[in-house]
């Protein structure tokens, strides 16, 4: 119940017209980017917490993380994930490129 209401209300707009300092389209993307930047910082802090806890418990020394060298097989798995990831987040680049090849389709802007 609380979680549902948090989802519904946590990002409520305060009363009053929101000021825009940049072109609204740019500011919208900027605001989303800053929220993503925040969540990246939070994820980074969580990894750091994990590393420190693992080190404190003698499971993994952080030096081992710094000097970690994946095996050829592990590298291939990690690199494949990166390729898939880039492919996914740059979807629009691919789609606009494909659209450019279609003779009758006008450009987006």
């Amino acid at each position: 119940m609380s979680r549902t209401s948090a989802l519904r209300r946590s990002a409520d707009k305060p009363a009053g017209k929101r000021p825009y300092f940049l072109d609204p389209e740019a500011e919208r993307i900027f605001a989303i980017t800053m929220a993503v930047a925040q969540e990246l910082a939070v994820a980074r802090a969580r990894v750091d917490t994990l590393e420190r806890l693992l080190e404190a418990k003698g499971v993994v020394a952080r030096e081992e993380i710094e000097t970690f060298a994946p095996s050829t097989e592990a590298h291939a798995e990690r690199a494949a994930w990166s390729q898939e990831y880039i492919n996914r987040i740059l979807r629009i680049v691919q789609q606009e490129a494909q659209a450019a090849e279609i003779r009758d389709e006008p450009p987006a802007a």
């Binding site: 609380s2 979680r3 409520d12 707009k13 305060p14 825009y20 500011e27 900027f30 802090a45 969580r46």
Partner: protein, 398 residues
């Protein structure tokens, strides 16, 4: 000491604490009324405090440099004279990309703080309400559900806080103040101390030092909200009966629970309008105080509350209000920067107050001009004016 020695010291410091910025949010006191915060919820506040630290330390100074190098010269070239006032300065700044970016980031960081605090508080709304209720002692809290919320409060979501200080969505709701208590750290960049009571601490210390013979028996704090700045005063005068007044029920519930959680037992909280405190007789208090309150008031409310303060104050007593310095004497750029909150952070009365000659209002309310008090301090939180610190204690003896 030779160079290698000093290098070693620098290295040692580097290892120990080569760091200048907000302390970890976890160093704040997580008292019994405080919302539970997960690792990631805490880190969200840490990140946002760092954002404000960066904006104050790095981006705001760039705005000032852009003002000097580009904005002011461009204005002069166009108008044949420098900007005459903060309105002209602000309009000129709005076309400056550095100001635009700083402003957009400041606004976003405030919105992100509100979202982060609301998320944490709302997901545990019922638990928080139950815990608050269990902490409130008999006689510690008097609420008045029939009290009309004045329009200067109800019409504004102060500093982008949805629901402001009075909004509640179910009986016993304290999500607003719980979000405020955990999130104010972001806005003051961790500089308010572990209890976010730096202003109250400074005020309590200043009163004791300046008026060593003043031993208030009854103290009232107007617009007390969560009681952050009242508790240090209550603790400085443990023999006094201390009352915090506010129009918002949620903040008062939380304030009472927080006082219990922190072991302060000479304070109680009453829901009332500070302009109409008829339940107290003339001269009932020897200390009438407020912190960061006057700038939330409309002009008629300000005058009414000052008149009520005068009535409530005993002969020989002290009325004292913590605020930001008035604009008079500041240049257009300084004023425009300090006035940012009025335009872009939902503080509509901010400009009005800082343009006022408060001494005039105090004397109009009945205080004697020769007994006025006016002291400037460094604001421990540096929360406003883009990090431009300094606060004033203004008031009067009676």
């Amino acid at each position: 000491m030779d160079d290698s020695d000093s290098a070693a010291i620098v290295d040692e410091r580097h290892g120990a604490r080569d760091y200048d910025g907000p302390d970890d949010h976890r160093l704040g006191v997580r008292h019994a009324a405080y919302p539970e915060l997960s690792h990631d919820e805490t880190e969200r506040f840490n990140f946002l405090a760092q954002m404000n630290h960066h904006l104050v330390g790095k981006v705001a100074p760039a705005v000032e440099r852009a003002w000097t190098s580009r904005v002011a010269p461009r204005f002069e070239a166009e108008h044949g004279r420098p900007p005459a006032n903060r309105h002209e300065a602000r309009k000129a700044l709005l076309a400056e990309p550095v100001f635009q970016t700083w402003s957009a980031l400041r606004r976003m960081t405030m919105e992100q703080r509100q979202e982060a605090g609301r998320w944490a508080a709302l997901r545990q709304a019922e638990t928080l309400a139950a815990r608050t209720a269990s902490l409130i002692r008999q006689g510690q809290l008097s609420l008045d559900p029939s009290l009309p919320i004045p329009r200067y409060v109800s019409a504004v979501d102060h500093h982008c806080m949805p629901g402001s200080y009075h909004g509640e969505t179910f009986p016993g709701d304290v999500t607003g103040p719980a979000s405020y208590d955990s999130g104010i750290y972001v806005t003051v960049r961790g500089r308010g101390g572990p209890l976010n009571d730096g202003i109250g601490q400074t005020l309590a210390g200043w009163i004791r030092e300046t008026y060593p013979t003043l031993r208030p028996q009854r103290i009232i704090d107007l617009g007390a909200t969560t009681g952050h700045n009242l508790l240090p005063v209550a603790q400085a005068f443990p023999e006094a009966e201390v009352i915090g007044v506010d129009v918002g029920a949620p903040v008062l519930r939380y304030a009472a629970a927080r006082a219990t959680a922190l072991g302060v037992d000479n304070v109680r909280f009453i829901q009332a309008d500070a302009s109409r405190l008829g339940q107290f007789e003339d001269g009932a208090f020897d200390l009438v105080m407020s912190t960061m309150f006057l700038h939330e008031l409309s002009l008629p409310a300000l005058d009414a509350i000052l008149a009520e303060s005068h009535r409530l104050l005993a002969e020989g007593g002290l009325m004292i209000n913590m605020e930001q310095p008035a604009y008079a004497g500041m240049g257009p750029f300084e004023q425009a920067m300090r006035d940012w909150d009025a335009h872009y952070n939902n503080e509509p009365f901010w400009s009005t107050l800082h343009d006022l000659d408060l001494d005039e209002r105090f004397t109009a309310a009945g205080f004697e001009r020769e007994k006025l008090v006016h002291v400037t301090f460094e604001d421990p939180s540096g929360a406003v004016g883009g990090g431009r610190i300094s606060m004033v204690f203004v008031g009067a003896r009676k």
